[in-house]
């Protein structure tokens, strides 16, 4: 009888499959039968039939062994064991409740942070989606062709609307807006004396409700904005001015002169709307207001009206866009209009992507969405890593438990399941805790990001799906490594007290610590730099002195009858100057941080259009603002040449002049030619995002000013304010005083950076906290592991300091590596961010050093606490420790 090794009869693939999946105890008998069967097939049938039949047999065996029970003490159904796991899991937790608490807290913190950030990101992404036709609404933008990618504007000429409707069939409706905030609103004369300067006063075309989905509570959407001198209130404003009653039919007085009939009440615009308003006045009214009518009729050169269109379908945008130049050519000859580039931007892109800003509401940047998403992910990762670290570190303690279980017959998969189950349990607890934390933190978080955050997301089914995925991901991710590691222990070795052969995962743990600290260090560095840039922007020399500058806007030079103050500027100035605290007074038509008019001109000999800002100022303006004249002279009282102008240094550069004095301005402003009589030092009038643009100063002459600027003494500002208000009231009893401080206005320009800094700071703190929690646990564990070693060293004469050094050395080295990795990453990221500012700080090595030191110090503090505790312990007890 020959022993034939004819395993070749079985196809290789089938054999491999069986080897992989078949439990070892049944494998032998099954493969034996299979080999025999295949051999006889080979002998009996043709090659192909034999092969086919053999494969069929092989696959059928799968059925056999899945039913076959395994080794001794096996349970036919897996879930019988779950309650035992639960019990042992709970008992383990109770014994090491400190560690468990640390773990759960760390996880919960990480998940809560990630959830908050995701909440924010979700809000950002859902802007403007509530409109029924949101995918068909577009906004017109224009820019100089070479600035198309960097700076666009949304203000259009009012003539566009009709031209578009006539010339572009893809356009169904057009809505124009004009922002006239703030306007003075007063409740008409029946004794109620509510008079307030209200923001959010916007004129809108009658097609407004056809395009946008803002539901009306009272009134008829089809006609509410048809007639002149009508307006629609938001619910909040209706409540403010009319209490609970239906205000339709009532009248409100605007700027003390113009009665507007209330034709409707609209629901307050959601926080997720790019269009924010409190009063919607009919566009038709503008024709009946003399000063506004003038602007409406001045043709294509005036740009002040944001214009939105509703296209017949969302694919029509490109077609419509291409028709615009043609439409323009038919309507106007104005060169600088034809030279500009025009486009249509989707409404849904407005909030995050548009380069045209948003006059009517808030705007953000998609980069922040990316950054915050990354941060959320990073924090979650750190928290999971913590758990992994802690669990594997404690593995050694449970090695004996694992050994015993294995001896009792637990299979590797069962052990893995047990540990995964434990981690799912922990992560469940953490999720519950995290949700609670999030609920508590939402109001504070809302303040931090300066956005009205609501817990509305809890109602979305998608949210709960995400939570479920979180739970699964966190639980599985965190539990995977410990499960894998622990189930590998060989029971015999383990019971003898050695983890022999298998590494206890120390290298991996070290890697995780490095990763955690890399993220933390990078975050710290970024936070420092963001704050640095913000500080810089706040304190940088603006070229003017913005402190204690009180600005009084005079609204009425645009709408309604002129303010009495504007008509009696000299008398007003005299009265104000009599106040001690008022150091100087000036008048002008424009002020830094507030939008002002621009004039455009074609540059000689090229296609480019150049824009300059125009300020009409009185002779005291420059001195009041603290702006230096660097060449020539400033304006003086009783000046002869009313056509003389001043320019800033940026203008000199743009015009390419070597010698500025006496030059004629290439830009046409008004009728006469303008000659330069002086050059003024550059000053910032916009945020430091933008570089300084050319400005032309012209004498105020007999024009009515729009702003009064006061430089005040620093002492007792509130009292001074009151006195100024008293003077004002004497001149203009009907209009209450409206004012702002120039430095506040500059501050407001940096709102989004402020918010970014706040968020960065908060999350950096969280990331560091979590990393420390992890390190704390690890250090505690490691110290405990080495108790005997410490005891021996102490007995041999080591000092406490030396022991501390020994125990901490390892961890400090890890943090050092983390710093080395983090610095280049942070450097690159911050360089990219700073590129968005025309004026920025330099990235100095000092910042990074500081960040590294902070991380190091924190890590040291954490570790040495544990190390010291171990070092100070009684060596006798240590030596007895088992």
């Amino acid at each position: 009888m020959k022993a034939r090794h004819d395993g070749d009869a079985v196809p290789r693939g089938a054999r491999a499959l069986l080897e992989r999946f078949c439990p070892p105890n049944v494998f032998e008998e099954l493969i034996g039968d299979l080999e025999e069967s295949c051999r006889s097939r080979r002998a009996r049938d043709g090659r192909f039939r034999a092969w086919l039949g053999c494969w069929a047999d092989s696959l059928s065996l799968f059925r056999a062994f899945t039913h076959r029970r395994g080794a001794a003490a096996d349970h036919p159904r897996g879930f019988i064991m779950w309650d035992s796991y639960l019990k042992s899991g709970l008992r383990t937790s109770q014994r090491h409740w400190g560690y468990v608490l640390l773990n759960v807290a760390g996880l919960a913190l990480g998940v809560a942070c990630a959830l908050l950030i995701l909440l924010f990101v979700w809000e950002e992404l859902r802007f403007d989606r509530f409109h029924a036709e949101s995918d068909r609404i577009y906004r017109m933008v224009q820019a100089e062709p070479d600035q198309w990618d960097t700076k666009r504007q949304e203000e259009m000429s009012p003539l566009f609307a009709q031209a578009l409707v006539d010339g572009v069939p893809e356009v169904e409706h057009v809505v124009r807006f004009l922002d006239r905030s703030p306007s003075l609103i007063s409740r008409d004369a029946d004794g109620a004396d509510l008079r307030v300067y209200e923001e959010g006063f916007v004129y809108a075309d009658s097609t407004f409700f056809d395009v946008f989905s803002f539901p009306l509570v009272h009134g008829d959407a089809a006609t509410a904005l048809d007639r002149p001198h009508t307006l629609v209130l938001t619910e909040a404003m209706a409540h403010k001015y009319f209490g609970g009653a239906n205000p339709v039919g009532q009248t409100l007085l605007v700027n003390s002169v113009h009665p507007f009939e209330v034709t409707g009440v609209v629901a307050d615009p959601s926080a997720r709307s790019s269009l924010q308003f409190r009063f919607l006045a009919s566009f038709a009214s503008l024709r009946e207001i003399p000063e506004e009518a003038g602007m409406l009729n001045s043709g294509w050169g005036v740009t002040a009206y944001p214009t939105y269109v509703l296209l017949e379908n969302d694919a029509a945008a490109i077609v419509a866009e291409r028709k615009i130049p043609g439409v323009l050519k038919r309507s106007t000859d104005a060169e600088h209009v034809l030279a500009s580039r025009f486009g249509l931007e989707p409404l849904l892109d407005l909030h995050l992507y548009s380069k045209a800003g948003n006059l009517l509401g808030p705007q953000s940047d998609v980069r922040y969405v990316y950054i915050f998403s990354v941060i959320a992910f990073a924090i979650l990762l750190i928290a999971c890593i913590n758990y992994m670290n802690m669990a594997t570190a404690r593995a050694a303690k449970r090695a004996r438990e694992v050994g015993v279980r294995k001896v009792l017959g637990a299979r590797r998969s069962q052990l893995a399941r047990q540990f995964l189950g434990e981690s799912m349990m922990t992560s469940f607890g953490a999720m519950v805790l995290a949700l609670g934390l999030v609920l508590l933190a939402i109001p504070a978080f809302g303040r931090l990001v300066q956005r009205d955050m609501q817990a509305g997301i809890f109602a979305e089914p998608l949210f709960w799906l995400v939570i479920l995925m979180f739970w699964a991901a966190v639980g599985l991710l965190s539990g995977s490594y410990p499960a894998l590691l622990l189930s590998r222990f060989a029971p015999a070795e383990v019971l003898k007290g050695r983890l022999g052969g298998v590494s206890s995962g120390a290298t991996f743990r070290r890697g995780l610590v490095v990763f955690q600290y890399t993220i933390s260090v990078a975050l710290v560095a970024c936070t420092l730099i963001v704050h640095h840039q913000l500080d810089y922007m706040r304190t940088k020399k603006l070229g003017l002195d913005a402190e204690q500058m009180l600005v009084l806007p005079l609204q009425s030079s645009v709408v309604g009858k002129p303010s009495p103050v504007a008509q009696h500027t000299e008398a007003f100035r005299d009265e104000l100057s009599r106040l001690d605290a008022v150091r100087s007074v000036a008048f002008s038509t424009a002020v830094p941080t507030q939008r002002s008019s621009r004039f455009g001109t074609q540059v000689e000999g090229s296609d480019e259009t150049m824009f300059v800002f125009a300020y009409n100022v009185d002779p005291d303006f420059l001195s009041t603002m603290g702006i230096d004249v660097v060449e020539g002279r400033g304006f003086s009282i009783g000046m002869d040449d009313q056509s003389a102008v001043l320019v800033n240094q940026a203008a000199v550069r743009s015009f390419g002049w070597i010698e500025a004095l006496g030059q004629t301005l290439p830009v046409r402003i008004g009728t006469a030619d303008r000659t330069v009589m002086g050059v003024v030092r550059d000053f910032h009038f916009e945020s430091l995002h933008a570089s300084i643009e050319p400005v032309v100063f012209m004498p105020l002459g007999s024009r009515l000013p729009r702003y009064i600027i006061l430089r005040l003494d620093a002492t007792d500002l509130p009292a001074t304010l009151q006195r100024v208000a008293a003077v004002w009231d004497r001149f203009s009893p009907e209009h209450p005083l409206d004012y702002f401080f120039l430095d506040d206005a500059f501050e407001r320009l940096y709102q989004s950076e402020d918010r970014l800094a706040g968020l960065f700071g908060a999350f950096t703190l969280t990331a560091i906290l979590i990393a420390c929690l992890g390190l704390f646990g690890l250090a505690a564990f490691s110290a405990e592991q080495r108790t005997k070693e410490v005891g021996i060293r102490k007995v041999m004469g080591a000092s406490v300091a030396h022991v501390v050094y020994l125990l901490s050395r390892d961890f400090v080295r890890l943090v050092g590596v983390a710093i080395v990795i983090a610095v280049p990453i942070a450097y690159i990221a911050m360089s990219r961010w700073l590129e968005g500012f025309a004026y920025r700080v330099d990235l100095s090595w000092r910042t990074f050093l500081f960040a590294g030191l902070v991380a190091l110090a924190v890590a040291l503090a954490t570790v040495s606490f544990q190390a010291a505790r171990a070092a100070l312990a009684d060596p006798v007890k240590a030596l007895r420790y088992e």
């Binding site: 009888m1 022993a3 034939r4 090794h5 004819d6 395993g7 032998e28 008998e29 099954l30 493969i31 034996g32 039968d33 299979l34 080999e35 025999e36 069967s37 069929a56 047999d57 696959l59 059928s60 065996l61 799968f62 059925r63 056999a64 062994f65 039913h67 076959r68 029970r69």
Partner: protein, 109 residues
Amino acid sequence: MRENLGEFEELVLLCVGILHGDAYGLSVRTELDERAGRSVTLGAVHATLYRLEDKGYLRSELGGATEKRGGRRKRIFALTNAGIEALRDMRKIREEMWALVPRLHPELS
């Protein structure tokens, strides 16, 4: 209580009985094929054998007396007393019922 015996299971039990001491997966399959004309996959046979063992009608042990299969031991199955009982019961029930069907009545067929 005792569970029902499927028709296939009954056949397999009978084959094990026939093969008396040499009943393992492959031999049972061959026996089934030859005697009952039932062509089944190897896996089905093994699965049934295991199931019958779980039910207590068969017992098994690993290892043939001689190493004929290139070093692979095989699992030999044998009927237990319970298995024999089950077979007898089935036969008894069947015969009783057969007797009640006129056309199948042994004396009249």
